[in-house]
Amino acid sequence: MCPAYQATRDERTSTRGWGNTLRLAITGQLGGAPGSPAWADPDVERALGLCLSCKACKSECPSNVDIAKLKAEYLAQSHAARGQATQAARFYAGFDDALLWATRMPKLANRVAELAITRRLLHRFVGLDPRRSLPKLTKPLRRRWARRTDPIDPTSPTVVLLADAFTDAFEPQVGLATRRVLEAFGYHVELLHCGDLGRAKISVGMLGEAIEEIEVWLERFRPFLDHRPDVVGFVVCEPSCLSAIRDDWLELRVRTSLERRRRFADACFLPEQFIERHWDEHPRRPSFRVPKGRVVLHGHCHQRALWGVGSSGNLLARLFGRERLVAPETGCCGMAGSYGYDADKYDLSMRVAARNLVPTVELAGEGDLLAAAGTSCRHQIFDTTGRHALHPIEVVANALIEG
């Protein structure tokens, strides 16, 4: 069920409420001009803004309603009616490019981000809630990647790590863990920076811009699909970026043929999902030590709605035993990308976390490990409980017996 509704029991924040809002707006039952669609209606935008875009309705609603998709379309129509996207929308849509710049000088960028004036400006112009901690930039993955010798046999199959902007800028250790694990399984790992694959543009309804961006990525990935028989798969650490490829890209009106998009989507996985799916085909089979405690796993909402939490959990269960994995069926953590940063939605974000996320985190005792595939989920875990969660592939990497 819709996590926002579970937390609030409020018609305003329910799948039905948003469905009705859209129906009333599109059928001209709202606002001053009866009969014509109410695009760019501030109330409709405010109401839809409360949707987490977690896609739970897409799989759970028996009426097959996908509010996240409808919301994006409504916002896109509204931007068109208004002539341009809102300030906050443009800020978030350009965030992945901004990260690319900021990570050239991460220390300076962090210092600027910490300035009181920056927080005030972000609050004023983007609506960023001052109570939120900001993620810290670090030396990005793309600058930590190079090394002198590649220990892998040149005939090994290749896995392309699509380094999403968040892994690259904030959590390069997740990318490095991915490489360690894939190499241990006998793969050559190639790094390709990929921004956020259009995720932010899609969620703020800048669909035209998203489509342009998607075309660019598809063109960049084309050689790997067409001319690189050594490439056996692509992995993306951030579930909301993977879901862009595997869900949104297939539904948007992108010029590249659907068949090609589907072919690419079918080759993309979370790293742990890739390992699990190809278990019998890996060039090597490394050994793992079983951690002392249990692994408590919080599934990302897109992961849960589209592929099931097993896409992270099955590998952990295989390596450590099913009894060591605790993966309750909880929904969205409430952070949902930029959602939880928004001052208007901070309280709701916290209420969703209190209902869905915190009880899961509390299942993890002293000796247990806490895992969550989503960068927002890990951030939300920290902001609500002060605890640090790992990406599932980090849990796997830490258990690797290297030899």
């Binding site: 039905r16 709202l30 028996p62 097959n64």
Partner: protein, 527 residues
Amino acid sequence: MERRMNGVQVQLGTPSVAAPDAERALRDLINAVEGDVRVGELDRKLYATDASIYQVEPLAVVVPASVEDAARALECCASHGLPVLPRGGGTSLAGQGVNRAVVIDLSANCDAIVSLDTAARRCRVEPGLTPDDLNRRIRRSGLFFAPDPSTVRQANIGGCIGNNAAGARSVKYGRTSDHVLGVDVCLPDGRRCRLDAGAAERDPVARELTSAVADVVRRHATLIRERFPRTLRRSAGYQLDVVLDQLESHAGDERLVNLAPLICGSEGTLAMVLGAELNLVPEPGARGLAVIAFDDLDRAIAAVPGLLRLGPSAVELLDDLIVDLAKHNPEQRRHVELLPAPAGGPLRAILYVEFEEPTEHAVDDKLERTRALFPRTDSALYRSPAEMQSAWALRRAGEPLLHGVEGARKPLGFVEDNAVPPERLGEFVRAFRDIVHQEGTIASFYAHASVGVLHVRPLLDLRDAGDEGRMHRIAERAEELARSLGGVMSGEHGDGRARGPLLERYFGPELMGAFREIKRIFDPRAG
């Protein structure tokens, strides 16, 4: 008028109201209530729909901060003569959740379990709690609240009382009114009282109400016995038959009459429920589920009486339209894949037969006897909670799945709640199908077969005037058909807007007059 909700200071839509003197009334309401008072256009339109086919804009929406706050809201509305409609999860199927009134939404902040007495197997709850949350929170006690409408995760206890909800297991556990020991109510004039056993001896307000209700019931006793349906499931009109039962069992002593069962099924028209004392039942020792596939709907229905002799806790029916829709739903598809295949041909209907027994052994025995009844058909037997949950998920999704039908004609709920004696269900289905076919459409069928409740939804397009006429004709003919078979048109979803207009046809003018008298006892200003 700005208030904080979810951290957002908003009125969604331009504030406006359309009641006489409403401006002042609403200002008073906003001052009186601690919670949210929403008068914006979008907010009002969000509460203009429930799970029915109706859209009626409320005057305003109140989301009270507590049950006390809800009572304050009602009192304020009463002082201004504004009509009030209490609302829970908004899952009513016949339009009970919408009206031109101040809607008081109790679902957000009135969901506490006030007390739990495990030894006495009872608990006291606020009205905005869902049965699912209640049962989750008291799981450790080994007890549960038995009524289980398919919306247990959204519907509220207050709404279960309002509509006298039942659910799949009502053949064993009965209806909500069988599990409500008492209710704390706020009357339409703002007065408060508790209605339970012995209330009339303690409380002057309760005494006055009980005595007046008993008087109406006594005067109409003969007609009540003659005209009220005798089906296990019935939710048409006020439950005067239950009050009469009480009077008779207490040798006419009206002081011993408990009015709580009368509040059950009154659809918010007599009082707003602020709290309820509920009866809880122990979890059975073991459960098992048989799912049987049929290549013919009639054959599935004909099997029901035989199954009932085995003493199941539920017998549920789904037709092929719902199964086909489920195949196209990402979540439900996996449940469909688990279904057995009928021997004769393509799947046309499924029966779910559930048993609750003291031991696993007894469940196994019942399941095997069920299988033996259908030697030619493939039946799946489930004993693990996870498997049963998966199988039930499809049945629960039945109604919402129907919204996914493609085309202009949608399966509409207006004759979706007929109840007939289970042994006449086959007859009913055949005649009903004829009615629908004569009107040039088809219908989907799903049912609580165990208690003869058939949720049938003809496919119609209400934007088409012809179909609107068809809807009225089908409704009237269905009412006649149910009545002629000893049944009733409102089995468990209640009357609401959909079947309210049929009440006089069903009960006749005298009993309709009695219902109006009952309404005036609780709400003297009612016309």
